[in-house]
């Protein structure tokens, strides 16, 4: 269903056709998708969504694609886990974890945005898809391109860790290792996107790509029984995820799926790369770019494209922002794993760490229905916790050694 009206500049409001463009020619502001909400309102319903596919595509009416062929058919509809143990530990009556550690196919929320980007890229006639990435995005682009039979180019800095390179090579995209640092790759990719007719998912396809994040808001509301949460905690890298969750919640109201949005939006960053949270806490409406230095590498964007808009969305919702140290990130990962059995990557540790801070400050209250967004799987960042999880109990291969170590009798267990 074609519900897109136009691309519209977020700064000056000038409208453009829904092509592979991302910058306003008038003021150079970023473009985003504008929909025909009246038309969507007439056709969408809770029942239609519930009868749809078990993936993000149940919300296709609110996504920037023509359809009806969708690539990435299994992305989304990840569990919304009622986190009773973690809630009890933190003192929250109703805490949920939106668990994108099990998103399909590459175990991070990027599968949502890439599914939308690659579907739109194919609709626009592209045969080559590309991205600049140091981790989750590259994995997702490479996997989706393989499944779709499209050519893929993944640009990475020359000093990226071997494990991360392998995670991309397995899907056989063209992995381009650029001799240079993050800034060099950044500049080169911007230039290539301008010169070549490729679909760069996070550059010239970005207006469509970013919309995929809205599905986290839609799913949360549907899985809560068509209720909006009182509080959400969202990790911030570019800030796009936070702004799109805010947009998604409001769209549900606009098209009549819910009556009101009272959700407070809270942003989470790591201290070693917290330009947006620092600006918020300083009461500024602009951020100062930083050189990232944190173990939370998937959030290490020092000059975030949507930082300004994330500040705006959080202020509009009367939410908050905060940041945590790398030690607190590790503690957050452990806490989530040990209370809910969910192993998150470092971004998840940031979210849990900030959630804990906001509860302690009284910003999030005991009775608030709260959702924390866990956006990637811990198996991808094992190096971050390797020194913080202890060692196995080493015993002799005998019953005596086992029983002595664990102080267990015949009918009971104990801890070593």
């Amino acid at each position: 269903m074609a519900t897109m009206k136009a691309l519209v500049c977020r700064e000056c409001g000038k409208e453009y056709p829904t092509k592979a463009i991302h910058v306003c020619e008038m003021c150079f502001g970023p473009l985003e998708v504008k929909y025909n909400y009246e038309e969507i309102k007439r056709s969408i319903s809770r029942k239609k969504i519930q009868d749809g596919p078990d993936s993000i595509w149940r919300y296709a009416d609110l996504l920037p694609v023509q359809g009806p062929t969708y690539l990435g058919p299994h992305a989304g509809m990840t569990p919304l886990v009622r986190a009773k143990n973690l809630g009890a530990f933190l003192g929250l009556d109703e805490l949920y974890i939106k668990n994108d550690t099990v998103n399909h196919p590459t175990l991070s929320f990027k599968d949502r945005v890439v599914a939308v980007a690659i579907t739109r890229a194919r609709e626009l006639g592209f045969e080559t898809i590309a991205c600049a990435s140091t981790g989750n995005l590259a994995n997702s682009v490479a996997a989706h391109a393989a499944a779709a039979g499209m050519r893929a180019y993944v640009f990475i800095p020359g000093d990226l860790e071997a494990a991360k390179v392998l995670g991309n090579l397995i899907y056989k995209p063209n992995v381009v290792e650029v001799e240079g640092n993050y800034d060099d790759v950044n500049r080169l990719c911007s230039e290539i996107a301008g010169e070549h007719g490729w679909a760069f998912v996070n550059i010239n396809i970005r207006p469509y790509y970013a919309e995929g994040s809205k599905t986290l808001a839609y799913e949360t509301v549907e899985q809560l029984g068509w209720r909006t949460p009182d509080q959400v905690v969202i990790p911030m890298a570019s800030g796009s995820l936070l702004t799109k969750i805010w947009k998604g919640l409001h769209e549900m109201k606009t098209v009549g799926l819910i009556d009101d949005v009272k959700t407070k939006i809270n942003g989470a960053q790591a201290e070693g790369c917290s330009p947006i949270s620092t600006a918020f806490k300083s009461g500024r409406d602009f951020f100062k770019p930083v050189k990232p230095k944190t173990i939370a590498k998937s959030l290490a964007i020092g000059n975030p494209a949507d930082g300004y808009y994330a500040l705006k969305a959080t202020a509009e919702s009367k939410g908050s922002m905060d940041m945590v140290s790398d030690d607190e990130v590790v503690e957050g990962i452990k806490l989530l794993a040990q209370t809910e059995g969910i192993f998150a990557e470092t971004a998840g540790g940031v979210t849990i760490g900030v959630l804990q801070k906001l509860v302690k400050q009284g910003t999030i209250k005991k009775s608030d229905v709260t959702v924390a967004y866990i956006t990637g799987n811990g198996l991808k960042t094992q190096e971050a916790v390797i020194d913080a999880v202890g060692r196995p109990h080493r015993i002799q291969p005998s019953l005596v050694s086992f029983e002595q170590t664990f102080k267990v009798g015949k009918h009971g267990g104990g801890d070593a």
Partner: protein, 79 residues
């Protein structure tokens, strides 16, 4: 004629300097400021440079040499 878009930032001590004027004279590029926010202690501009590719590269290097921070218009795209 090639053109490229940049987001440039001025450190506090460079805000009063006519750097864009200087770049337009020192290199064969046309400078075109499309959006800007210059305050007492911070300043940024969205700037288009038009000219030969090598001359644009030289102008960018010139901006950096003058202490200005130059990023692509998209800011950070490596995710």
């Amino acid at each position: 004629m090639p053109n490229m878009k940049f987001h440039i930032r001025f450190p506090e001590d460079k805000i009063k300097e006519p750097i864009i004027y200087q770049i337009g004279h020192e290199f064969k590029v046309v400078t075109n400021v499309r959006r800007a926010d210059v305050r007492e202690t911070t300043g940024w501009m969205d700037l288009e440079l038009t000219g030969d590719s090598t001359e644009i590269e030289r102008a960018v290097a010139g901006l950096r040499k003058k202490g200005v921070i130059v990023d692509p218009i998209e800011l950070n795209v490596v995710e």
